[in-house]
């Protein structure tokens, strides 16, 4: 399997605290990779490094064979790494449709057109509506993003991400803070994207059971280190992982 993103000895330290510690990993193309780990394991930090919100203290990231370690988040998005955020991150006082339309506009590289009316780009709006349909949000198209329920905001965020049509989707706990009733709808949306089979998905999840059946590969982070990686079955049966989750494991070097 061809790998689309690889990291080499990826490390970031905040002061003395090493949040991500020497992670070397290949993320295979068009596969579903889950990143799991207990709180504070460095999952989101690892994502921030991949998407460019943070730059590493040490190590390198390559994307399609190209070194992207020093690129800004914008450039990485344009190259094909799109991400969602754990904290809901939409444009609150714009309509749902407008939120997605902006992402479509970005995808179509309409960046500095300032004389034409935005409705001249009817196709963007159609595409945005199509995406909203895909994430089961079409009936809310004209409400303000602010007025959406939490689960709906997460769906909106996924729609914006899909609009970018990036090769890689980085999903940071898409079910975080959701009520139990909302979770299946989101998982359903993610499953549909997976079934289309043309995107690489990397997903952070806290609750391991939720994503095991979706994943092709699972990475387990613990104390910023890559504790294990393998197929869901391997991870389930891995003793180190179990003890990490049960809280019995100490980092021997620091203990």
């Amino acid at each position: 399997m061809e790998s689309i993103i690889s990291t080499k000895d990826l490390t970031i330290a905040f002061g003395g605290h090493v949040a991500v510690d020497g992670i070397t990993i290949d993320i295979p193309e068009k596969q579903f990779t889950s990143v799991i780990g207990p709180n504070g394991a460095g999952k989101t930090t690892f994502f921030n490094l991949l998407s460019g919100q943070l730059s590493p203290t040490k190590g390198a990231i390559t994307f399609n064979g190209e070194d992207i370690t020093k690129l800004s988040p914008t450039k990485r998005t344009r190259k094909g790494i799109g991400r969602s955020f754990q904290i809901t991150n939409v444009f609150p006082n714009l309509t749902v449709l407008e939120n997605v339309r902006l992402a479509v506009q970005s995808k179509n590289k309409v960046r500095f057109q300032m004389l034409r009316h935005f409705t001249a780009y009817k196709q963007f709006e159609d595409r945005a509506l199509e995406l909203l349909e895909q994430v089961l949000l079409a009936d809310k198209a004209h409400s303000l993003a602010n007025n959406l329920a939490h689960g709906e905001k997460r769906k909106l965020e996924i729609a914006m991400l899909l609009a970018l049509e990036t090769q890689v989707l980085l999903l940071d706990e898409p079910t975080a803070g959701m009520s139990l009733e909302e979770v299946p709808a989101i998982l359903d949306v993610i499953r549909r994207i997976k079934e289309q089979g043309d995107t690489t998905i990397v997903l952070i999840e806290h609750k391991m059971d939720m994503i095991l059946d979706l994943s092709d590969q699972v990475l387990v982070l613990f104390h910023g280190q890559l504790l294990a990686h393998g197929s869901p079955e391997e991870i389930m049966n891995n003793e180190t992982v179990q003890s990490a989750y049960l809280g019995g494991l100490y980092d021997e070097s620091s203990a």
Binding site: T74, N89, F91, L94, L102, S106, V110, L115, T119
Partner: protein, 334 residues
């Protein structure tokens, strides 16, 4: 869009007829000031309301416009050609200064832009004071204007201001409704998110800063034409605060708002000053405005136009829902 454009055109036409049917010169020149400050406040709102950039030195662009034209006209003959030349100079200088201010600070957090513009406005004020041979220093100077504008409350100048206002209103409106304008609003909402969907926010902020600066300089040009006099007060922080007040009261993030705000402030200023004989407090009208400002921020944070818009959208939404409900009922019945 069609209907609102129609309403604006009708209002503009009514205003255009005004000087021919109504000849209270004081009121006419007051209306003219409203046009001028309407343009200025609109340019301020482009920053504050649309892009979410705070500027404390917007008066600088107003002053650049005023002094550029005044100096060019003063040093040469007072002809239309030199007026246009002065306007071009104003636009060029405002464009360069706003570009530099933007590039220097807009990649940082927003208060850096506010502080830098404040400092630059102060710098321009000092420059205007010190370069006496050009600017006449603190006292400023009276200038000759092209013949057609000599009558400061005549219809020519009035119509010129109105036309400039209308043209810039529609241009700026088109700009805010363009794809770039939409990105600006998204930047106001959530910068980080705009970045992560693939736009470089820096370019957009600099564009907003430049367009806003250039439009403001045009307001300064008209201002100096209407006074036929210029002094350092055009660079004063008060001018910026006026624009801020007009924008907040009229409605942040709308284009008509600042123009209406300009109308309210100018007329209120005029009438309150007239009341100065009744009680001294009316002389200190700025105190009253301070109170109005606080109340507006607490109770109508979206300003007059913003609040009206909100009510209107809510009603439309309700109506739509009502319609759908009856439709469903009808369908169920049939």
């Amino acid at each position: 869009m069609g209907r609102s454009t129609g309403i604006y055109v009708i209002i503009a036409l009514l205003l255009a007829v005004l000087p021919f049917v109504y000849d209270d010169r004081i009121i006419l020149s007051l209306v003219m000031q409203v046009f001028i400050f309407g343009i200025f406040a609109m340019s301020y709102d482009l920053l504050l309301g649309f892009t979410g950039i705070v500027s404390f030195g917007h008066a600088m662009f107003f002053g650049i416009g005023a002094y550029s034209v005044a100096i060019v006209l003063n040093q040469n003959e007072a002809t239309l050609f030199y007026l246009l030349l002065g306007t071009l100079l104003a636009v060029a200088v405002a464009g360069i200064v706003s570009f530099i201010a933007g590039v220097l600070t807009l990649r940082l957090q927003s208060h850096f832009y506010a502080m830098l513009t404040l400092a630059l406005a102060g710098l321009f004020m000092v420059a205007a004071e010190k370069m006496r041979s050009l600017t006449g220093g603190n006292e400023g100077f009276v200038l000759m204007v092209p013949d057609m504008f000599i009558d400061t409350s005549g219809p020519t100048l009035y119509l010129t201001c109105l036309i400039v206002l209308v043209v810039f209103f529609f241009l700026v409106r088109r700009f805010t409704q363009s794809p770039v304008g939409k990105v600006l609003m998204a930047i106001r909402e959530n910068e980080q998110r705009v970045e992560s969907i693939g736009f470089s926010i820096m370019y957009y902020k600099v564009i907003a800063s430049m367009i806003s600066g250039i439009v403001a300089s045009i307001a300064g040009v008209l201002y100096v034409l209407s006074l036929q006099f210029v002094d350092t007060s055009v660079f004063a922080t008060d001018v910026t605060l006026d624009a801020l007040l007009m924008t907040i009261i009229g409605g942040v993030g709308t284009l008509v708002g600042p123009i209406i705000g300009a109308g309210i402030i100018e007329f209120a200023h005029h009438w309150l000053s007239d009341l100065a004989d009744v009680h001294w407090i009316f002389k200190r009208w700025i105190i009253l405005f301070g109170i109005v400002y606080i109340l507006a921020v607490i109770f109508f944070p979206r300003g007059i136009v913003g609040t009206l818009q909100e009510i209107w959208i809510k009603r439309k939404y309700k109506k739509q829902q009502g319609k759908e409900a009856t439709k469903d009922k009808n369908e169920a019945a049939s």
